[in-house]
Symmetry: C2
């Protein structure tokens, strides 16, 4: 089948479209992210988020509470726009290349997901009648993660003359602010102050530092010119800007190019970030650009081999899934210094904060395609365990760790704790991801060095939070589940179920690894009491999971069903999302859900309830869920698949996979919806294909939803590479590499040998 590995869009140079394209055509490699802004800039009244980012770099800014209460968060981290090295102003024969002002004869944008670059091509006629073709290719390199290149090619179509490039390196730039959107921060100061800047030969360099966090950012740029004629270059400083002017003769029908290399480093990772960027440029510029392009392609070839899903019957969906998985790769950290932000590295929405979404919606993708990246994400959580312990202390806990609801450094940044810090289920999500990673990889070293400590400390928090009620049930009070339209409740079903999972695996895996030297040391360091493991087991066993006899469902929390049902049928379209139109206290008073909550827990922990109860719950909650969060429909879809509700699974799957490509929420300009991308992948893999990994091993239960004819995807499992192909009437599991295995298919056990694939009739 044919997959469009290139996303191609016409470029009309219209303000709203440009803003959207900044996201869709951004370049990122998990370390750096560069918005797809125009090199030549846009008029000041155009909306633009002209940003370049480094994963995990941040400034600390005040977040004053309207009313001071004990231990409320009063400052937050925010991602920083680290510099501007995108700006290149071009003049031909003295006329400024400014396609936003007209003269465009043909223009397009391309994202090539096999080659790993974006490209903008514009045929432009100057006011004086000179025509040029401009092709600008940009790349954030996956191999040299500090490197960003711009290959800026110009061809004179009907004249000869001269091209003058003013290439800018600006070390101090402001963050974006959109006063209309309360979900974005409304501060837009320049967080970086230049410490050192200048030229070393023709190479510009800068070191800038934030005032409060003390994070230093080093940037260097250099250029090469590709031309048959002699060009000249001149450097200058203009205000804060370091500018390189390149004059290149233009001959009709001859392509000339300027290649701009920019390198980025930061003091979180490097002791000498300036030395680092100089070295990166030196090394990179030794190699021809074509070699860098080739390395990029090879890297991606490997990625696609391990992750490329193919879907027949819906070409758009097939393309969208490729786009999504590519975006996930662009967002994935290469080290333990950052998580995955809500918008990846594609924009400043949600201030660059990491949420539970990463563990619950994105880690499963990497666990199945590139477990090393999954491990990086979990290593970040391990690295921030001390901050999570401190957070637990601030909230009054005597032991354990509570991960922050939103963070960059691991320190809590929630301004409104009832739907922030109170969302204790973040602990359940981190624990769930650790467990999933371990079950899928069998990586015991990770467990004894990091994973187990996370599990034990999060489990301890549940022990410290919960309490046995008069009937001896373990209850968890005053927490907020995933559905933020209900806050600070008792026995949120989802939270209790995920705490049960956390407690159980913490105890079981501790016992499994207890004899290893690292674990003995860990137990001593954590002062693990012998009774604690027993306490964890008991709490897991006695965990209260609310059930309502009359409805035959699991209520979202103790009092959820006592509330009146919100009349969604008579709620006008223009008041969605509800949180922007109703006071939270009003929302809290109704049965109305922002997103899947109990329904998600049914998917994650299906053994806790009968199929009938789960179906009843599904039917109940779908009537009162607004899906105001982009994390919701994918969960409804996969739970429907699990329950055999194929029509519903398809309906909920809808085209949420195309959310960003189609800009359905009209906010893709702020950045891509990373978690939704992971969720859609799961809706296929764990939903349609029914792929699950539990402590009983791998199992599948695939079907092809109506409208599709066939889909297949590769995945990793315990050192193996496998591929599942599902057709209307049959499914096939192939072993690409690794050992034979036994796995589950529906209620049976099946075996996959090395010689030939396992095939079953559906």
């Amino acid at each position: 089948m044919q997959t469009n590995t290139r996303l191609i869009r016409k470029e009309n140079y219209e303000p709203k479209e440009l803003n959207l394209h900044e996201t869709l055509f951004h370049n990122a490699n998990g370390y750096i992210g560069i918005r797809g802004t125009l090199e030549e800039g846009v008029p000041t009244d155009y909306p633009t988020m002209r940003g370049q980012y480094i994963a995990g770099t941040y400034e600390i800014i005040p977040m004053k509470q309207a009313e001071s209460l004990c231990n409320l968060v009063e400052e937050k981290q925010t991602m920083i726009n680290v510099c501007d090295t995108q700006t290149i102003r071009l003049s031909v024969n003295g006329e400024e290349f400014a396609p936003v002002k007209g003269g465009v004869k043909d223009a397009s944008r391309v994202l090539d997901m096999e080659e790993g670059y974006t490209e903008r091509t514009t045929v432009w006629k100057s006011p004086a009648g000179n025509e040029i073709r401009v092709r600008i290719r940009r790349m954030a390199h996956f191999g040299i993660k500090e490197l960003f290149t711009i290959e800026y090619e110009v061809e004179a179509l009907n004249f000869s003359g001269e091209a003058v490039f003013d290439s800018v390196h600006m070390p101090e730039v402001a963050n974006y602010s959109d006063p209309d959107d309360p979900r974005l921060a409304d501060e837009s100061p320049c967080y970086l102050k230049s410490v050192e800047k200048g030229f070393s030969g023709n190479r510009s360099f800068s070191v800038a530092e934030t005032a409060k966090s003390g994070v230093r950012i080093a940037v260097a740029t250099d250029h090469t010119v590709v031309s048959e004629s002699r060009s000249d270059s001149m450097i200058r400083e203009e205000g804060n800007a370091l500018i390189t002017r390149l004059r290149v003769p233009l001959k009709q029908n001859e392509k000339i190019a300027v290649i701009k290399y920019a390198a980025f480093s930061d003091s979180i990772r490097e002791s000498d970030p300036k030395g680092k960027v100089m070295q990166v440029l030196k090394d990179a510029m030794k190699r021809p650009l074509s070699e860098l392009y080739l390395a990029q392609k090879e890297y991606l070839s490997d990625f696609h081999a391990h992750s490329r899903m193919e879907i027949e019957g819906d070409a758009e969906l097939n393309d969208a899934v490729l786009f999504n998985t590519y975006q996930l790769l662009c967002a994935a950290p290469h080290d333990a210094h950052s998580g995955i932000a809500a918008k990846g590295l594609s924009g400043e929405g949600y201030e660059g904060h990491f949420f539970w979404d990463t563990e619950m919606y994105v880690v499963p993708f990497f666990v199945l395609t590139d477990p090393t990246l999954a491990k990086n994400i979990l290593s970040f959580r391990y690295a921030t365990l001390p901050a999570a312990r401190e957070n637990a202390t601030l909230l009054g806990h005597k032991k354990g760790a509570l991960y922050p609801w939103r963070t960059i450094t691991g320190v809590e940044c929630s301004g409104y704790f009832p739907s922030g810090s109170a969302a204790y289920h973040i602990n359940g999500a981190v624990a769930y991801a650790v467990i999933q990673y371990y079950l899928a990889t069998g990586d015991a070293d990770f467990m004894v060095t990091m994973g187990l400590e996370i599990l034990l400390e999060t489990a301890r928090l549940w022990l410290d939070t919960g309490v046995y009620d008069r009937e001896g049930r373990f209850c968890i009070q005053e927490v907020t589940g995933p559905d933020e339209y209900t806050c600070m409740v008792n026995n949120n079903y989802y939270t209790n179920a995920s705490a049960k999972n956390n407690l159980r695996f913490a105890a079981d895996l501790y016992e499994q690894f207890r004899d290893r030297a690292e674990v003995k040391k860990l137990a001593a360091r954590l002062k693990l009491d012998k009774t604690e493991i027993a306490d964890m087991k008991k709490a897991a066993e006695k965990m209260y999971l609310p059930y309502d006899e009359a409805y035959g469902i699991n209520p979202q929390d103790d009092s959820f069903l006592d509330k009146p049902v919100w009349d969604l049928a008579n709620t006008p379209k223009d008041v969605y999302p509800l949180l922007l139109h109703y006071h939270p206290l009003h929302l809290y008073r109704y049965q109305v859900c922002k997103q899947a909550d109990t329904v998600l827990s049914h998917f994650l922990f299906p053994d806790l309830q009968s199929k009938e109860t789960m179906e009843n719950s599904f039917r109940y909650y779908e009537k009162i869920t607004t899906h105001d969060s982009s994390l919701s429909t994918c969960v409804f879809s996969m739970t429907a698949s699990m329950l055999g509700l194929k029509e519903e699974a398809l309906a909920y799957f809808g085209d949420s996979a195309k959310l960003d490509l189609m800009n359905r929420h009209e906010n893709t300009k702020d950045g891509v919806h990373t978690a939704n991308m992971g969720g859609c992948y799961m809706a296929i893999v764990s939903g349609f294909a029914g792929l699950r990994i539990t402590d009983e091993g791998l199992s599948v239960n695939p079907y092809v939803p109506k409208g599709l004819s066939r889909y297949s995807f590769p995945f990793a499992y315990r050192g193996r590479r496998l591929k599942l192909t599902v057709e209307k009437n049959s499914a096939k599991l192939e072993l690409v590499s690794g050992d034979a295995l036994e796995f589950g298919f529906r209620d049976t056990r099946a075996e996959l040998g090395k010689e030939e694939p396992w095939v079953v009739k559906l």
Copy 2:
């Protein structure tokens, strides 16, 4: 018996003491309040809240939320320091009178509660050895509410020479800020900007305006000199200050005095506040000061006749109750333009906001002693009914009115809504006060013009908030009761009980008055639906009042008893109040109460439960209540009295009546605890004396607690003036004026005729 009608304190001129004395010796008359600061000022490193206030005047300042959510309050009103007319600097023979720097031979402060003034007397020896006696008497006039006078008398004791007074009128002054106390605002800008100022003859005047609220404040001052010799005066402007210099010859052993008259007015009440203050000064200065003093004394004589309680057996308590009732008078509004602030007019604590305390703790005092002042307070609530309707709308209600948790203008100022706007019981408190006022006065005109509309609109809010559960019980979800250590709960017993009372009386009194023309118009204006009254009755009848079979108590809310009990026995003293030492989410997770909640509702609505249940509740809650609020122990005391738990009643009464006099909470410097003062009065009148007024009329059930021998107090009831005297073995009810009446005594009915008192053996 002897009552100390003068509060006398030694003045050591020490910083902390001065700050406390600023509160204890402030002057106020319900319209203006002037802190008892030193005329000559204090060194800059002394803590001081140098303030002058006008009831109900305010500025609007931003109160940004850490996280923006729909319809959260983002600005608040704050009381303003309206000017400085207190400053008078004295020099004798060129030496500045500066007792804080030493030279004090003897000094005292006096509050005379029969004469209605404060006085500071200081015998001071200058560095050069000149001795003077300075006596400064200050008065906020109850008859001319805009008038404040300072009579500044100097006597040269061992020399002759000259006194020079620099008397200052400063129109722009800053509000106080104490960065150490999060309960005080931390902004201290100058809210007023001078619009017009200068001298008219020797009379200084100023008009200043706030930037946002547009409130204008007019102030004028003038002076007379009392001296046998000729004095001269000189006026000047120095920066913003208007200064009058008065030179008065001093002869040994001759008293000379400067009398400073200051008048205040505001644009909320007056269309021409400047004209008003000029007129007030003109009129006041026509009369000798002695006549103003006499009028003040006569006003207070009337007040004391209607309110003076006499207690034998605890002289300190007797004095404290006088102090408290006097302070309540000083705080009571003379019109409908303000309520009673948490600190009255004595300081800036709680930013001058009005809370439910007024209706629940202070109105009962005025209902029994000066119903006109009670009516003023309720008229303020009537005047702000439109703002309460708007507040209800912001919170998503389709009808009804919700009074704001804290306010000056009637617009909500809560920064943290879970323990602010969510405290819907404010509606119950306002309704309760309206009902109490009506039952005690029979003021039908008030009911048909104001009271009924308040009752109907608050009752409507309950109808719009509550919902019938599956068992047909009327439930109220997601509200916060008086105990702020538990927030946003379902079926808070107190809230439901007070809503029931509100609903029932709204319906009953509507039916009682429905044929009056005003009520017919009201019903039309409110578009009162015929079914609404029936709905109110039904909701009142079906109101769910949670009861726990196992404990035989009323749980504070649906889930309260599911939570673990806070271990108060092992909580160190230095972590009280808990709210300053624990994150709110932690507090919410425990059975621990800041203050009386269910226990208060038992006192207010004793007919809802059996005596046994109420006693069980009392016993239960007393174990988990910290009394971190000054509103708590008085309630425990009166509920104990009601239940016949005399020892407990006495123990809880303790010396909370002396809270401010003894500065027990160490924050009297921020202002007096107005509500506690009302609560202590109630603990005697409604507690010890068991005085109740219900729709069945007046009843008493008095006793003398251990340690006291006798107490008596006058009170008003339906046009009558009565006096109750209680001794160990007998009680006496006398009719001072008005008609004979039938009343309840314990379970019996009694009659009080005009001829002789009713006496009963106890």
